[in-house]
């Protein structure tokens, strides 16, 4: 892990990349985030998030295979890296720890 944190949109985007498919591109990610979070997300924001995630090493982009072509050219696909998945799990652990505290307080 490179010691960098995930922004909120970054987190949602990375989760979406993991959730949609092994390899995915801008449109499904945007649609997934919009559907599950219930808020409007522009494609520009999704691209920016993917860009940052790639800089941090959490996703990797690969060129699609010959089957995955649009308008005569291969498309760029994103896939979560091991670092990315670790970062997601780390974030989730942090949240769960906090929730544990909250729920413990509620019981007590």
């Amino acid at each position: 892990m490179k010691g960098e944190r995930l922004g909120e949109l970054e987190e949602l985007t990375l989760l979406a990349v993991c959730a949609v498919k092994d390899e995915t591109y801008g449109v499904p990610v945007q649609q997934f985030v919009e559907k599950t979070s219930g808020r409007r997300v522009t494609i520009g924001a999704v691209y920016a998030a993917l860009e940052r995630l790639e800089d941090k090493g959490y996703v990797r982009s690969v060129m699609g295979t010959a089957r995955q072509m649009r308008g005569g050219r291969r498309k760029r696909l994103f896939r979560a890296t091991a670092d990315g998945i670790r970062a997601l799990k780390e974030t989730r652990r942090v949240r769960e720890r906090i929730w544990d505290v909250i729920e413990a307080k509620g019981r007590g």
Binding site: Y25, G44, A48, R70, G71, R76
Partner: protein, 867 residues
């Protein structure tokens, strides 16, 4: 995998402008996919809204796109804070952009639109060239041969005629329209598709086919009131019923500047025009157009047709001086006049130049206001510099702000143009068929102009504003900052504005003087009572003399007709004869009219001295002449010209005997009203002539008489073609056109004047406010209010005076170019120039004095105490 969806045009443009880097293809495909998906699920509106925000969101991702959005937000805040100066700048720019955009729409609708034809590049007109120039007409028989033989181009033909079209019950209401008679495939090769019903097809042109027509979209909308069941409807063309089979698409006009109301076939020609039917022996002249087959070049097609025509003329005996036909192909897809392409280009170029000047004026104004703003914003800029902003970043911010201003002005200007276009096209008298809407192309033009204006206005203030060091800017604050204002830059803007205003004002004044002058011009004959009849008669097997005699008798028998005369040329007609005459070594160019003895009475030209021709003189074509009053004086001074002679300088070798002057008549306007007002010399009508004479008819009611004449002459001989023209209408149309020109120049000059006045006022007011301290010191040491006023007026007027001189020089140079538009007014007309200059000077003086008086009222004590 499916094909990416097609995005709306505005999104594609925005995307082109968006910096996307190497993943452009991916992004476009993604946007297309999202758009398509949303459209299917939630409809067009939602999909468009989301697409818009998606495209804009792409800008935020880029480095300069982000700062730009930030700057724009800041700019909007500034606009809210300083509504007045920003409002003035935007209003000035919007005015100029609106005018420029509307004129551009008109130009694009009339000159740049390629007639609504398919693939216009492969459409050619077939002309024939000879030693007397080229012309675009061919005998119908030759066309049939050419069409048969041509392999590299498909040829079709057309002939434009004026017809009376009626839809109602009474024939009296039938109105004149242009009808295009065409060969069967004409509409198909040019791309004239039906908007309703069907177009004309080759079988409609068969000899035994029923008379059918298609109408223009405009005719359908107006005359037929958009009748939904138009196909099958019957209209009357020259009294003959014709079935309408369809309506053509709105943009289609065919390759002619005149927009026909209906298209019908050659096979209907005999019935509708009461003429001989079209068959292979018909020599009626028609226009030939063709579409080149793919991969054929213009030269190859021309070569082929040339060979065909050469074979054609082998069997014929060509007349000694007839043109030796050679084929010349030309591109038929542009409305630019082929005979005089330069004229069209010059007209467009000068229009663009004037618009450019007005825009530059508005920009200079905006720049001046922004410069003043930059001077007062030095403190803010100083703070930004102190906080670590780079100079580049600051320049970028100021440019972005002016860009915002430009776009704001562009939007307002575009709205203004939507209103202005119909007003202008009404003023210009454009045919209502022309729909000059602010279309996509015009919108693009407006955006480009707006951005150019914004950046043009913002660049020098931005450079100035960010100059200087941080500390002094912070310490000085806003009050004294103006001392550093680049006075030379600002005054040169004012000088430039004065120059442009002078130029435009002088031009407008000259045009206005022309319009006034023309309404007072003495025509010299009763133009409102004359109908001209032009005849086109067959050359072979036709007794012209007998026909003319019968025609004159028939016309004379009409009750409305008072008199009939024969003359070679019609007043304000299409053709005119000019020759150079000599007397006592001097030469004079004169118009020549050849007529019978009666013409002077028929037209109402007064005989001042001597006599008119006798019948014998006309019969024998005696060498006698009448001259108009002004040339009598120019040739002979105070001497009596009767009995003297003038001779024509021989052209083309044939000698002309000198003509004896027998009489003097009043001056008339024979031809176009130009600067060089030529006199007219009258000769007896000649028998050896290339064209049949015109008949000139005097009548109290020209419109009714014209109709009666057509009805009386048509049955005489179907081979003759008759056209009547009402001279008064021609004259009115001509004068009207001149008046409109002046009308159009007026508002442009007014805008220029207002912009210049605003500029001068703005600069003086600013200078005055910056120099309050100095003025107080001057007054404290003894300067009077008058001294202060004089100081500011002198300094304020200096750049204006310089601009005035430059503008006047430019105006004198420019006015020579359009001298032909100035009838009877010299391009150096002192009245017009004097008026323009004095208007400009007095406006400038007011614009200087008003703020200067404020300076003169300064209370030195209170100002000095404050500082």
């Amino acid at each position: 995998m499916h094909e990416p969806a097609v995005l709306p045009w505005w999104a594609r443009w925005l995307l082109i402008l968006t910096p996307l880097g190497i993943h452009r293809g991916d992004v476009e495909a993604d946007l297309g996919e999202l758009f398509e998906d949303r459209r299917q699920r939630y409809g067009w509106l939602y999909a468009r809204q989301r697409l818009c925000s998606d495209v804009l969101s792409l800008w935020r991702g880029t480095s300069w796109g982000g700062t730009m959005l930030q700057d724009l937000r800041f700019g909007v805040r500034l606009v809210r804070k300083h509504p007045l100066p920003v409002g003035l700048t935007v209003a000035g720019l919007a005015l100029a952009i609106g005018v420029a955009t509307s004129v551009y729409s008109l130009v694009s609708a009339t000159m740049l639109r390629p007639f609504g034809m398919d693939d216009p590049d492969s459409i050619v007109g077939v002309g024939q060239s000879g030693h007397s120039g080229s012309w675009a007409y061919w005998p119908y028989g030759d066309f049939l041969v050419m069409r048969q033989a041509a392999k590299l181009s498909s040829l079709e033909a057309a002939d434009l005629e004026r017809v009376r079209v009626g839809t109602g019950l009474s024939r009296d209401d039938d109105a004149l329209h242009w009808a295009m008679f065409v060969s069967g495939g004409y509409l198909r090769i040019l791309g004239g598709r039906p908007a309703a019903g069907r177009a004309l097809v080759p079988s409609d042109d068969a000899a035994d086919a029923a008379a059918v027509a298609v109408v223009s979209h405009y005719f359908w909308k107006t005359v037929l009131a958009g009748d939904p069941s138009v196909a099958g409807r019957i209209v009357r063309v020259n009294g003959t019923p014709v079935t309408i089979v369809g309506v053509l698409e709105r943009d289609f006009t065919g390759p002619s500047e005149i927009r026909p109301a209906l298209w019908t076939t050659f096979s209907a020609y005999d019935e509708l025009m009461l003429a001989r039917p079209f068959d292979p022996t018909t020599r009626t002249l028609i226009e030939v157009y063709g579409r080149l087959t793919p991969t054929t070049t213009l030269d190859a097609a021309e070569h082929e047709l040339d060979a065909i025509v050469a074979r054609l003329s082998e069997g014929r005996t060509t007349s000694a001086h007839g043109p030796e036909p050679g084929v010349r192909l030309y591109r038929a897809a542009s409305p630019i006049d082929l005979e005089n392409p330069m004229e069209a280009y010059v007209a467009t170029a000068s229009l663009v130049a004037v618009l450019g000047l007005v825009l530059a004026l508005a920009c200079a104004n905006a720049a001046n206001l922004l410069l003043a703003a930059a001077a007062t914003r030095r403190r803010e800029i100083g703070v930004r510099l102190a906080l670590g902003a780079t100079r580049r970043r600051l320049v970028r911010q100021l440019v972005h702000e002016s860009l915002l201003l430009g776009l704001l002005a562009g939007g307002l200007g575009f709205l203004f143009a939507i209103w202005l276009v119909p007003v202008l096209s009404g003023l210009l008298g454009m045919p209502p068929e022309i729909t000059a809407g602010p279309d996509r192309q015009v919108l693009l033009f407006a955006i480009v102009v707006a951005i150019a204006c914004g950046v043009g206005a913002g660049i020098s203030p931005a450079r100035y504003g960010t100059r200087g060091d941080v500390l002094s800017a912070l310490r000085e604050g806003e009050r004294r900052a103006g001392r550093l204002a680049p006075t030379r830059l600002r005054t040169s803007y004012v000088g430039f504005q004065a120059a442009v205003s002078t130029l435009l004002l002088v031009v407008a004044a000259l045009l206005a003087r022309t319009a006034i002058h023309m309404t007072r011009t003495e025509i010299g004959f009763d133009a409102g009572r004359i109908v001209g009849i032009s005849l086109s008669l067959p050359r072979k097997d036709f007794n012209e003399h007998v026909y003319l005699q019968r025609a004159v008798d028939a016309v004379r028998a009409i009750p409305l007709v008072e008199r009939v005369s024969a003359s070679q040329y019609q007043p304000f007609g299409m053709s005119i004869e000019r020759d150079v005459f000599t007397h006592d070594g001097g030469t004079h160019t004169l118009y020549i009219q050849r007529s019978d003895a009666d013409l002077f009475v028929t037209m109402g030209v007064r005989l001042l001295r001597g006599r008119t021709f006798t019948a014998q003189e006309v019969d024998s074509e005696a060498a006698v002449a009448l001259i108009s009053d002004s040339i009598a004086r120019a040739f002979f001074g105070d001497a009596d010209p009767i009995g003297r002679s003038v001779s024509q300088i021989p052209s083309e070798g044939s000698p002309h005997p000198p003509a004896t002057i027998v009489g003097i008549v009043s001056d008339t306007l024979a031809g176009p009203l130009r600067t060089e007002q030529l006199g007219t010399l009258y000769r007896p009508i000649s028998r050896e002539r290339s064209n049949p004479p015109s008949l000139i008819v005097r009548t109290p009611n020209p419109h009714a008489a014209a109709r009666a004449i057509e009805d009386a002459l048509r049955p005489l001989d179907p081979r003759a073609r008759i056209q009547t023209s009402i001279v008064g209408d021609r004259l009115d149309a001509y004068l009207e056109q001149k008046r409109r020109f002046a009308w159009l120049a007026g508002p442009v000059a007014m805008i220029a004047l207002v912009l210049a006045a605003l500029g001068v006022y703005g600069v003086t007011a600013f200078v005055v406010s910056q120099r309050t301290h100095e003025v107080s010191v001057r007054m404290a040491v003894g300067a009077s209010a008058a001294d202060v006023l004089r100081l500011f007026v002198r300094q304020g007027l200096r750049p204006i005076a310089i601009g005035l001189v430059i503008g006047l020089a430019a105006a004198l140079a420019v006015s020579r170019v359009f001298a032909s538009e100035l009838s009877g007014i010299s391009p150096h007309d002192p009245v017009a120039i004097g008026a323009a200059l004095s208007v400009l000077l007095s406006v400038a003086l007011i614009a200087v004095i008003v703020p200067a008086r404020r300076a003169a009222r300064t209370e030195p004590a209170s100002v000095l105490r404050q500082t």
